[in-house]
């Protein structure tokens, strides 16, 4: 263990702007990419990190004080600030736990395919960052590097299983019409509950009958989907509530608009640098599993443009803010991820094949859990952010992301372990156990639900 601790310590002190390029070079060459290409992409990853540091510092430096002033002034306890999933993805790649996760996840996937335990081949290497985040959080809670990597492997296994399960929904022409594809994300783990919620909603008379047109919702609320405008509006609201003067409000609004656009762009640069490895992995895997009856694991981003998903996501923006204020015990202020609620709307609308009213009710229930848990996870996410080198002032707020609440596997594993390491109260453990029992119960009782829903055509029924 002594040597491992030493290596981890060295990587941590070097920081991701230096370590990531080195690791990318090694991995890129290992997957048979050309040296010139590998070096260029390795440097690009470092550049991406530097860009992310700059923009996040700007964001926290300007918008953070407004959030803090709002907390003081209103006496609301929203002390955890949502910095958005792009920042958290960068934190995950930057933690020393990230490096073994790519090969370990690949090995897990190959083993499961060979043993017939999954049909999903996850070629979406970019989103391995979620596995990396589980590893990072578990490492921080337990102080045990190996346990972190094991947790990432568990995340990978569960993500593949849920991908198999929801695949019929993804393939259904009345839903997303993408046969042969699915989404091996931890965020999909809310699916058993989502199907249960929708099943209950169908039992309530009248609810399924209400029709809402996704297109007119988009036309009215579409502004909330544009990062610059959303950032600007949120900045004004925050600045005004914080009691800033006109110029102060204007400054917060502009920085908020800027960072809402710029931070994801910087993460795009990071992603660009990771592409050759992602390509290498895809080619490596496709060659080994050609012509098999497999489901290709993809980024759920490819279904975020469906009209019902967009409509529900837009309506969830104001609902999420209201939920955050009125939910007792919640400490998270949803902010940056409000521009990305389409991801959380997928599971809300899929069981009903795009019924807006049922989707909105289901989405609201899911958002309540997501927001609450994202707040609970914020101290640990903040610790990771500091380790990776984000300048979060000691007296400032915690940082978190809605993704930390939406990705069930992160928090289920973290909250299960935390009480045993003095990092959380025993109540986490009880909550977690109830959630897990409910989860597997739903999954078991509804095990045929995605298949059944996809086989039942809405049009043929009438």
């Amino acid at each position: 263990m002594g040597l491992l601790e030493e290596i981890v310590g060295t990587i941590m002190s070097a920081g991701p702007t230096i370590m990531m390029p080195i690791i990318i070079t090694i991995l890129g060459l290992a997957f048979g990419q050309k040296p010139g290409k590998v070096i260029r992409s390795a440097i690009t990853v470092g550049v991406g990190f530097i860009g992310i540091y700059m923009t996040v510092d700007l964001f926290i430096g300007s918008v953070g004080p407004a959030a803090a002033a709002m907390v003081d002034r209103l006496g609301v306890r929203l002390t955890a600030f949502d910095v958005g999933w792009p920042v958290v993805s960068a934190i995950s790649w930057g933690m020393p736990t990230a490096y073994p996760v790519i090969p370990v996840s690949l090995a897990v996937n190959i083993a499961m395919l060979l043993l017939g335990l999954t049909r999903t081949l996850d070629i979406d290497v970019w989103n391995y960052w979620a596995f990396c985040l589980t590893a990072a959080l578990v490492y921080l809670v337990t102080g045990n590097y190996i346990m972190g990597i094991v947790a990432a492997a568990i995340h990978c296994i569960l993500a593949l299983k849920i991908s198999d399960w929801v695949a019929p929904i993804v393939a259904d022409p009345e839903n997303f019409n993408l046969p042969g594809l699915s989404f091996p994300h931890g965020n999909m783990m809310l699916a058993p509950y989502a199907f249960l919620i929708d099943k209950v909603l169908t039992k309530i008379p009248g609810i399924g009958e209400i029709k809402a047109d996704p297109e007119s919702i988009r036309k009215r609320f579409g502004v909330l989907g544009e990062p610059v405008l959303l950032g600007f509006v949120l900045g004004i609201v925050l600045g005004v509530i914080a009691g800033f003067d006109v110029w102060g409000v204007a400054n917060v609004a502009m920085v908020s608009a800027a960072t809402m656009l710029l931070i994801p762009r910087m993460v795009g640069i990071l992603m660009e640098g990771l592409m050759p490895i992602a390509e290498g992995v895809r080619e490596f895997m496709s060659k080994r599993f050609p012509g098999r009856e497999i489901i290709i694991g993809m980024d759920a981003a490819i279904v975020t443009g469906y009209p019902a998903v967009v409509a529900v996501a837009l309506l969830l923006v104001p609902i999420s803010l209201i939920l955050a204020v009125i939910m007792p015990g919640n400490i998270l202020l949803p902010y940056s991820d409000l521009g990305g609620l389409v991801f959380y709307a997928i599971l809300a609308v899929a069981p009903s094949k795009g019924n807006i009213v049922r989707g909105l009710l289901s989405g609201t229930i899911q958002m309540a859990l997501i927001i609450y848990i994202a707040g609970v996870m914020s101290p640990i996410v903040t610790e990771a952010a500091r380790i990776v080198g984000f300048a979060i002032p000691a007296e400032a707020l915690y940082v978190s992301s809605l993704d930390a609440g939406s990705n069930t596997i992160h928090w289920v594993i973290t909250m299960l372990l935390a009480p045993f390491y003095g990092k959380g109260p025993m109540s986490w453990l009880y909550f977690d156990i109830i959630f897990i029992i409910g989860f597997f119960a739903c999954w078991w009782f509804l095990r045929n639900e995605p298949k059944r829903i996809s086989a039942t055509k809405i049009k043929a029924k009438r």
Binding site: P86, I123, W126, N127, L178, L181, E215, R218, G222, G225, E226, P227, P264, R265, V267, G268, M271, E272, M275, A278, R282, E283, S286, I296, M298, D299, A300, A301, I302, V303, T304, G305, Y306, P307, V310, G340, V342, F343
Partner: protein, 108 residues
């Protein structure tokens, strides 16, 4: 040939759009095509079109407000939308390459 402009849309403008953009840049380099790409969220496309008209849109997800004129033929404001998913899976990549080249050279 004038410089061509391609808009690439996905759910986040970050992940899948970047993957598609890199594939397209490789194609343009190989074929000697003078073109640039911009990435945005699918939901921003309408706003983008009010500012600038691209020669082609490649998207990995449906675009709100798009018109479906037939199988595999989608447009918005008269701009053709191609499905970028083949660049993510690798399946049907050559066909998509060819479709892009056809549209940019005006053979469509």
């Amino acid at each position: 040939m004038n410089k061509k402009h391609i808009l690439i849309a996905c759910g986040t403008a970050v992940a899948t759009a970047t993957a598609v953009a890199m594939k397209m840049r490789e194609l343009f380099e190989k074929e000697g095509i003078n073109a640039d790409t911009t990435q945005c969220k699918a939901i921003e496309v309408n706003y983008y079109l009010s500012q600038r008209t691209p020669d082609l849109i490649v998207s990995t997800t449906p675009i709100p407000g798009e018109k479906i004129n037939g199988p595999n033929h989608r447009t918005i404001n008269g701009v053709t939308i191609l499905n970028g998913i083949p660049y993510l899976t690798g399946i049907g990549k050559e066909k998509l390459d060819q479709e892009i080249l056809n549209i940019l050279s005006g053979k469509h």
